[in-house]
């Protein structure tokens, strides 16, 4: 007690944070007191607190320091002081990942966890699980099982949550605790029930049938005491409905509907939220859910109002009609004292409202936009974006508002979202282009975010030359060259060069400006200026296209690696950029979907940057003998299944294309636990012209493991039409029967066997790499004189819509659509699809497909390529 008093006095004297000036070395020095024979809790407690404070402030300890202080801390187990002991648990958790030999405290913690002192038990479980690894978990399994079903709710909850964390390191062991978790689900305690359900679901989530059973049983029987558990159950049920595509008659739906009448507001909200977010809801349920949310809009509790209006805001786009029903309530919320609620209400109204109300609502927002936080400003901006797409005619009002917002203070994310919105409006609405660009020009005059300024300059370079009066942008761009930091100056130089390349009448002026830039103090700026001015001097269209208007198409990590190798190798040969694989056009959308479905229980953390798929394959393939002579990897195809997924042996194929060769990678999986396969290889029945160069078998394939066999084939020489072929494939191997338990073969001698695979097709798309052309039109024009052209007309009778035809053509040819021509505007009967790609060996291909809809789709296909035979090949293959 006296200690407390003293501390308090000190605090008053010093004022502010008593731990402000602590230093790592001093704390570690003080921690030696833990080693003293008789522990003095009064002295040790503040020191341990300091240590924890320091660790939580982000101070890093080395492994040695951490281990020393950890072992000193273990001595504190001899003290019986409750506060000190609980601080020790916290310390163990903090240091468990840094210090060595942390398992030393296992027995001490198990003693506390099973002991009589309830204050110790829950914390001890959490500490114990943080130091335990997969091998040690078996030793404490018995205690964990007991703890899960313990009568004390704190202990039971701690054990359940810890188990949930343990599933990351030892899922198999935790799976065995299902029975205990089942029992805990029936607990009377709110939290225990919730945590137990969480664990149960997590254990079973990969097994659909088990989840279905779990939900069916719980929805019927669970004494739904815990609102948290019910909320979670609703989420699981909603997920099941999505996955199974269940209709409104399913029992899950009944359950969610029943939850509308639950006495806890949290549950009612969760049910409504689930229903409005389902992909397929009928109007009846939707109306019910919306009316619940409407009710919440008038609630005296701000949390409920916020939750309801936020949900309405999110679904305003997908169910506008339903949300319109709440408009009256939303109008009332505009004047809510809570600014977050007001913002969301207005933006929802903007999304659902009629064109006439836009002006009024925009005025309303303008009154308080300066008072809300950046996060909500972003919401406003997004609403405006949706609005601009919906009512293109209102763009001037919205654009003015956005530019006013741009001038306000704000963080990068906020500014970036405004710039994004303006860019979207420009792209979508040609009328708005000039004003939008003007606003952006004004913005970069006074922009503190380098990355944003660079992006806008790039956009100006791309869009500016196409406007009526390109010259007016040049002043803005050149101002940047005079005033800004090197990276912006460099971007401005590039943008100016774009003008020079696209507008012949401005060329002279641009040359003068570039000449001035060559005197710049920064290397990069000077280099760019010199580079561009010398290209512009040549007055050569094709040079413009290749080196100014188009961007670099090779994959940057590969370029970096190859250049590094080149500088180290000390050869006389010049560096050849053709050897670098062309970068793959990435698909950004599948990433987002993933984040949505996960995260129900454990947050997935920030996404890791993974090397591209091609890079991975390239490193793997390079280890094969005799592969170096084939040159660089050109393209890897998608995975092709050569068997059904549920058969004895599962074989998947990836086709790796090289300039003159094809490497076929067969990933084989043995699903028979009583067989050991040896010398596994794929025998191909190649078609005419193809030549098998080598055959690399997989030496051994035990049960449930994936092995890889390779076959290298050579494309037919000078006979392109025959490169599109179908191979018969047979899996050949030596079988040895073995004991399922040990995996060891019973006998030494095996017998030969084979397994028929589906035919393997080598298509045109396998030999073509997609390339995204930023400036397809000028490339096409330039190609008119230099490339070979082939043209043909086809009737695609099996296609019924233009969208379908576009998707199929892209898939078949393996080319990348350019200038967003893969999106077919609604209600049109003709469409032009623009495609670009590179054939193996670095041969450019440009394709224009004019489509017309009339009793099936008619297509006029024009192919331009640097190689005549390839143009011919493409036109012949389509037919």
């Amino acid at each position: 007690m006296s200690g407390f008093k003293r501390d308090k006095k000190e605090e008053e004297d010093g004022g502010g944070n008593p731990f402000q000036n602590i230093e790592k070395t001093i704390v570690l020095q003080e921690a030696r007191i833990f080693n003293e024979t008789s522990v003095n809790p009064r002295k040790c407690t503040p020191i341990l607190t300091k240590l924890l404070y320091m660790l939580n402030q982000g101070e890093q300890l080395s492994a040695k320091e951490a281990t020393d202080v950890f072992f000193a801390m273990t001595k504190l187990f001899q003290s019986k002081d409750v506060i000190l002991r609980r601080l020790v648990y916290l310390g163990i958790k903090e240091l468990s990942s840094i210090a060595d030999d942390v398992i030393i405290v296992t027995s001490s913690l198990t003693k506390d966890m099973t002991g009589k002192e309830d204050l110790y038990r829950a914390a001890a479980i959490r500490a114990l699980c943080s130091i335990t690894d997969a091998t040690m978990l078996q030793a404490i399994e018995r205690y964990m099982k007991q703890a899960i079903v313990d009568r004390n709710p704190a202990v039971s909850s701690a054990a359940l949550v810890s188990s949930l964390h343990m599933t990351k390191i030892a899922p198999e062991v935790v799976k065995r605790w299902v029975n205990e978790a089942q029992e805990a689900v029936n607990s009377d305690n709110i939290m225990v029930q919730f945590h137990a359900l969480g664990l149960l679901y997590h254990i079973r989530k990969s097994d659909r049938l088990a989840v279905t059973k779990l939900v069916a049983r719980l929805t019927r029987t669970m004494s739904s005491k815990s609102p948290y558990a019910v909320c979670m159950l609703i989420r699981i049920a909603a997920k099941l409905i999505e996955e199974e595509g269940a209709d409104s008659n399913s029992p899950y739906f009944d359950y969610i509907e029943a939850c509308f009448r639950h006495k806890s507001e949290m549950v009612v909200y969760e049910a409504a939220y689930a229903v409005v977010n389902l992909n397929r809801t009928t109007n009846r349920e939707l109306a019910q859910a919306i009316s619940v949310l409407q009710l919440f809009c008038g609630s005296p509790k701000p949390t409920l109002r916020f939750a309801a209006v936020r949900t309405l805001n999110q679904v305003a786009i997908s169910h506008p009609a339903a949300v319109t029903a709440c408009n009256l309530d939303l109008e009332n919320l505009i004047t809510d004292s809570n600014r977050s609620i007001a913002t969301l209400a207005i933006t929802t109204l903007l999304k659902t409202g009629a064109e006439s109300s836009v002006d009024r609502l925009m005025k309303q927002i303008a009154t308080f936009v300066s008072e809300i936080s950046d996060e909500f400003k972003v919401v406003v901006v997004q609403a405006i974006r949706a609005l601009a797409l919906k009512f293109p005619r209102k763009h001037s009002v919205l654009m003015n508002f956005l530019s006013a917002m741009l001038r306000d203070e704000g963080g990068l994310e906020y500014k970036a979202s405004i710039a994004d919105t303006i860019i979207t409006i420009i792209e979508d609405n040609p009328e708005a282009k000039e004003t939008g660009l003007a606003h952006l020009c004004e913005f970069i005059e006074d922009c503190e975010h380098v990355s944003l300024a660079v992006r806008i300059l790039h956009l100006l370079g791309k869009e500016g030359p196409k406007t009526k009066q390109p010259s007016r942008y040049i002043r803005f761009i050149y101002n940047r060259v005079i005033l800004e930091c090197p990276s912006i100056r460099a971007a401005a130089v590039s943008a100016m060069a774009q003008f020079g390349a696209s507008c012949p009448d401005l060329l002279e002026n641009i040359q003068v400006l570039l000449a001035r830039c060559q005197m710049d103090s920064d290397d990069e700026v000077r280099d760019r200026a010199t580079y561009y001015s010398s290209i512009l001097n040549r007055q050569d269209k094709s040079l413009y296209n290749n080196y100014i208007l188009e961007t670099l198409q090779v994959s940057v990590p590969a370029l970096e690696r190859t250049l590094k190798e080149y500088t180290n190798s000390n050869t006389e040969q010049p560096f050849d950029i053709k050897t670098i694989p062309v970068s793959v056009v990435s698909k950004p959308d599948d990433h987002e979907v993933k984040q949505k479905t996960e995260g129900m229980l454990i947050s997935s953390g920030p996404a890791k940057i993974t090397p591209s798929r091609e890079e991975n394959f390239a490193t793997k393939l390079n280890s094969l003998p005799g592969i170096q002579i084939l040159g660089p990897l050109f393209r890897s195809s998608e995975i092709v299944e050569l068997t059904e997924s549920e058969t004895e042996y599962v074989v998947r194929c990836v086709k790796h294309c090289y300039t003159h060769h094809m490497v076929l990678q067969f990933d084989c999986l043995n699903t028979l636990n009583d067989q050991l396969l040896e010398n596994v290889r794929v025998q191909l029945d190649t078609s005419e012209g193809y030549e098998i160069i080598s055959d690399i078998p997989c030496p051994k394939l035990p049960y449930n493991e994936t092995g890889t066999a390779y076959v290298i084939v050579k494309f037919p020489d000078g006979d392109l039409p025959n490169s599109i072929a179908t191979f018969g494939a047979v899996l050949k191997f030596v079988v040895k029967d073995c004991d399922p338990a040990t995996g060891l073969p019973d006998i030494d001698e095996g017998y030969d066997d084979e397994y028929m695979l589906e035919d393997l097709e080598i298509t045109l798309g396998d030999q073509i790499q997609k390339v995204s052309r930023a400036n397809w039109g000028s490339a096409w024009e330039e190609a008119e004189s230099t490339f070979y052209e082939m043209e043909d007309t086809y009737s695609l009778s099996s296609m019924n819509t233009l969208e379908e035809a576009v998707i199929n053509i892209i898939k078949f040819l393996g080319l990348q659509p350019a200038e967003r021509s893969d999106k077919v505007p609604k209600g049109k009967t003709t469409h032009t699809l623009l495609l670009a790609g590179i054939f193996r060996g670095g041969i450019d291909i440009l394709v224009r497909a004019k489509l017309a809809l009339a009793d099936g789709v008619t297509m006029q296909l024009t192919v331009r390529s640097t190689d005549e035979s390839i143009a011919e090949l493409i036109t012949s293959v389509v037919g």
């Binding site: 405290v105 027995s107 001490s108 040690m136």
Partner: protein
């Protein structure tokens, strides 16, 4: 306990806190030995292999013992040294029926005696030749010879045959240890 002693212990005057380290190979009976010293209320019925260490407390003749019962498992033996500092005595438990691993015991003992934290100090070492009830158990004399205990000159040591299950032989040993530590403390003071 006499009235005076009771009074002294009540006032906490003569009471001294001491730390002892309990070491030995796995399955030699360390935790069982320590369990036997504890008061009847604190005793546990089933003993499981210790992982790491556990702290136990017991009273003997006015000395408050804090025993660090170390794990004897091969994987954790090199962690003993973290606790060598600040210990007043060592209890070394040997499974006298395990002839095969007697060489391992010797090796571990030599390592312990050579450790810088131990070799400088004159701390008493108590050996328990445990499991004396087993048929093939070696006598304490034979074990002393096998471990070369007679070569330990600079530290007081004592070996007593014991049976930790019944508690036989334990009292004699721990009384010796208490006596030694008491002397050591009085010399220091």
């Amino acid at each position: 306990m006499g009235l005076f002693q009771k009074l002294v212990s009540f006032l906490g005057v003569g009471r001294k806190e001491v730390n002892v380290l309990v070491v030995g190979l796995n399955n030699s009976g360390k935790s069982t030995v320590v369990n036997n010293f504890k008061s009847d209320d604190d005793k546990v019925t089933d003993i499981v292999p210790t992982v790491g260490f556990s702290v136990e407390r017991f009273q003997k003749q006015n000395l408050a013992f804090t025993a660090f019962d170390m794990s004897g498992h091969g994987r954790y033996r090199d962690l003993w040294e973290h606790y060598y500092k600040d210990c007043h005595g060592i209890i070394f438990v040997i499974d006298s029926s395990d002839r095969l691993r007697l060489v391992v015991v010797k090796e571990e003992l030599d390592l312990l005696l050579q450790h810088p934290d131990i070799c400088q100090k004159k701390i008493p070492i108590l050996f328990f030749a445990n499991k004396m009830d087993c048929k093939e158990a070696l006598s304490s004399v034979k074990i002393a010879a096998a471990l070369g205990l007679d070569k330990i000159m600079d530290k007081p040591w004592h070996i007593s045959a014991s049976n930790a299950l019944t508690g036989e032989g334990l009292q004699e040993g721990v009384e010796w240890l208490t006596q030694q530590i008491r002397e050591l403390l009085s010399v220091k003071n």
